[in-house]
């Protein structure tokens, strides 16, 4: 028994050695260098359809093969951070543009200024300024906008007309007048506007329309006690206090499109993805009754948020020139128009809007107009967390637990606590 046991052990050892040698040999035997495999991570719907744009790229760039990996949005952030921690980042990636400051803080992204300078396709001045700006951190460019995402008013034309108005509001004052009139005409069981309490965006947009920034001293401290944010919060709360907006979250509305169709609310602040959804989900006889409009501001047309996704190159990539070529290709207006047809995503540069179906789309027109007035959220890695606190505190104020004064104080306290480490890092950087 002991003899056969020893022999068996030897066989196992030999097998293990063989496996080790083989895996080492195949590990060394990488594909030859004239063939570049470009690893491209993309999220959600974009990740599904971008593959259709790639054969043309591979035809015009022989030797480059693009491997697309799709990530679900819900897991993308976590997966990217894990990839950075494990040195397993892709060459090129789609990034939500609010994530860029965070990934810059992680030293994960490659500055793209020199590539843009040498490109004939990517023309800085053709891009909407607010969108371009979201990619600039500390004076350097870390991403090229791929598609844009901003929010504006979706409204029911028929219900607005029934309340006595023929055009959507241009200013805060007009918006209030219309909300009051609609509430009067639809009765107690329906509302004028839906501002879901689980989204920070509606309040953020009102705040971005103000002159004062949301954070001060290079993002060291919160600036919520400023007059601008106070005005925005008062305006926001006013819509709930007067009974124009129901204090609901999205999950309680269950089916936003149905409810919009039934006239449960007449105004809804949302993004471009809902153009397609409303076209698809509202019945045919309701299709003439809805429209989009740019956001009203404190005095005349106002700003909205500069959201969307950018394409970024990771600093650990060994295929940066090829990665840039892919960005360059995906930035061509013709390719972007095709991308719009596939996804409904709005292109980030004016040339892409000038032609094709998007130029004739009546629902997209308001977005085209709004994109000239978009502003980025504060560019600090902590912003998403601060925005979440903003939502939580605003929700408490909506439920009457906090006054405006208490809410803005509380928000500043929370923001300052979250920014403590940033202050320490900046202070240390200045010191040595």
């Amino acid at each position: 028994m002991s003899v056969s046991g020893a022999r068996l052990r030897w066989r196992w050892a030999a097998l293990l050695v063989a496996i080790a040698v083989l895996s080492f040999a195949t590990g060394c035997n990488r594909p030859s260098s004239d063939h570049t495999a470009l690893r491209f991570w993309a999220m959600g719907r974009e990740g599904e359809v971008v593959a259709e744009l790639l054969p043309e790229f591979e035809r015009t760039h022989p030797g480059v093969h693009v491997q697309v990996q799709q990530l679900p949005w819900s897991a993308a952030h976590e997966k990217l951070l894990t990839a950075i921690a494990g040195d397993a980042t892709p060459d090129i990636c789609q990034l939500g543009n609010t994530w860029i400051p965070e990934f810059v803080a992680l030293n994960a992204l490659q500055p793209l200024d020199s590539y843009v300078a040498g490109s004939s396709t990517v023309d800085h001045s053709d891009y909407f300024a607010g969108i371009w700006d979201t990619n600039v951190v500390g004076g350097k460019l870390y991403g090229v906008p791929w598609y844009v995402d901003t929010r504006l008013l979706f409204y029911r034309r028929d219900l607005l007309a029934q309340a006595g108005f023929s055009a959507p509001p241009k200013s805060w004052q007009e918006l209030y007048q219309m909300l009051a009139a609609i509430k009067g005409s639809v009765g107690p069981d329906r509302y004028s506007i839906l501002l879901p309490l689980n989204e920070f965006e509606p309040l953020l947009m009102l705040a971005l329309q103000q002159d004062e920034p949301l954070l001060r001293e290079d993002g060291r401290w919160g600036n919520f006690e400023s007059g601008g944010f106070r005005r925005a919060l008062e305006f926001y709360l006013g819509m709930f206090q007067r009974g124009w907006a129901p204090p609901l979250t999205n999950s309680e509305v269950s089916n936003v499109w149905n409810e919009f169709g039934r006239g449960y609310f007449s105004f809804y602040i949302s993004g471009p993805w809902n153009i397609g959804e409303f076209k698809r989900r509202l019945p045919a006889e309701k299709q003439d009754s809805w429209m989009t409009a740019p956001l009203p501001g404190p005095n005349g047309p106002g700003a909205s948020i500069a959201g969307g996704s950018s394409l970024a190159v990771f600093s650990a990539s060994r295929n940066k020139p090829a990665a840039w070529q892919l960005i360059d290709y995906l930035s061509q207006p013709a390719v972007q128009r095709r991308f719009h047809e596939l996804t409904g995503d709005l292109p980030p540069r004016r040339a892409s809007w000038a032609d094709g179906p998007i130029a004739d789309d009546v629902y997209a027109r308001a977005f085209r107009d709004q994109l000239e007035r978009v502003k980025p959220a504060p560019k600090v890695p902590e912003w998403e967390r601060i925005a979440n606190e903003m939502r939580v505190v605003a929700e408490r104020a909506v439920h009457g637990e906090l006054s405006v004064d208490q809410a803005v104080k509380e928000l500043d306290a929370r923001a300052d606590r979250i920014l403590e480490k940033r202050r320490w890092l900046l202070g240390r950087g200045a010191g040595g």
């Binding site: 976590e78 951070l81 950075i84 921690a85 965070e102 803080a105 992680l106 030293n107 994960a108 309490l197 689980n198 204090p247 609901l248 979250t249 999950s251 309680e252 269950s254 890695p381 967390r385 939580v392 929700e395 408490r396 439920h399 637990e401 480490k421 320490w424 890092l425």
Partner: protein, 292 residues
């Protein structure tokens, strides 16, 4: 001596695995809870600060932690007795000699345990819907005003409790059913001869005989219910007004949403200490006050 050494060799593989995959990570997490590990530290370890018990101190000063702790306690204090009560009730019904189609009901009542939580949560969201939900429809038919189950901060936690009890009672039911079946029939026979009522039989025969199993079931259920996470995660995302944020949900947000792994580890250790203390108390209490 030789036997002892041989024994150590036998348990060594298991110890090694437990050491590497359990004690080492736990120890690392303990160390991490004494630092302010976050994305800046992920970028460059020089950005890591040793903060001692700072995470724990600031955690205990954070209102949201106490709110989460209160929410979790609410869930445990209401949910555990309710859950065990329902389990015991259904186990007694299934054990009853009057019950028909036992195998069918046993399977049907156990079914929620093996369903996918995310899928049934979608269905329960519809049941809880304020305007179209079955629950409000039923309440409406007896003249009760519709309740905004998942949107009202006072009702969200009860809704979560109802959902969690429905989802989990089948598991304990099976264990208790096994316990009931192992009680000798002679005891009931003797009790009946002595003229004991059904209630007295339950109180003085069933309960004492079930006591060890009830203790085990309650320890497992309390430890499990303290780790409330998935239900609020899929039903309410902690809302409305953070009324369904549990301690574990807070840890998840700290750690994996905001990537503050230092303070998230501190939350985990506080939760561990709480569960540990409660289990120890429970064991001591039942040892002192033996049934029968």
């Amino acid at each position: 001596m030789r036997f002892e050494r041989a024994a150590w060799w036998f348990v060594a593989p298991a110890l090694l695995v437990i050491g590497v995959f359990f004690f080492l990570p736990v120890f690392a997490a303990l160390l991490m809870s004494l630092t302010d590990f976050d994305i800046y530290a992920l970028a460059d370890l020089r950005n890591l600060r040793f903060v001692g018990l700072g995470n724990y101190v600031s955690l205990l000063q954070t209102p949201l932690f106490w709110q989460a702790f209160g929410n979790t306690l609410y869930f445990v204090v209401v949910g555990v007795p309710l859950s065990i009560g329902v389990s015991l009730g259904t186990a007694l019904l299934l054990h009853s000699r009057l019950a028909r189609f036992k195998a069918f009901f046993r399977t049907a009542l156990f079914a929620p345990v093996v369903t996918t939580l995310v899928a049934v949560a979608v269905i329960w969201r519809y049941l809880f819907n304020t305007r179209y939900g079955l629950l409000n429809y039923a309440l409406g038919s007896v003249g009760i005003q519709p309740i905004d189950w998942l949107g009202d901060p006072h009702w969200a936690m009860p809704a979560i409790i109802v959902f969690a009890v429905w989802k989990n009672f089948g598991y304990n039911m099976i264990i208790l059913l096994a316990g009931l079946q192992s009680i000798p029939e002679e005891l009931y026979e003797a009790a009946r001869i002595d003229g004991a009522s059904i209630w007295r039989q339950f109180r003085y025969v069933t309960l004492p005989m079930l006591a060890p199993i009830l203790l085990m079931v309650s320890i497992l259920t309390i430890a499990g219910y303290f780790q409330l996470f998935a239900e609020p995660y899929v039903m309410t995302q902690g809302g409305p007004l953070q009324s369904t944020v549990s301690v574990l949900y807070l840890m998840y947000e700290e750690g994996f949403k905001w990537w503050n792994l230092g303070s998230a580890s501190a939350v985990a250790f506080v939760l561990f200490l709480v569960i540990f203390a409660i289990t120890a108390l429970q064991l001591r209490y039942t040892r002192q006050r033996a049934w029968t």
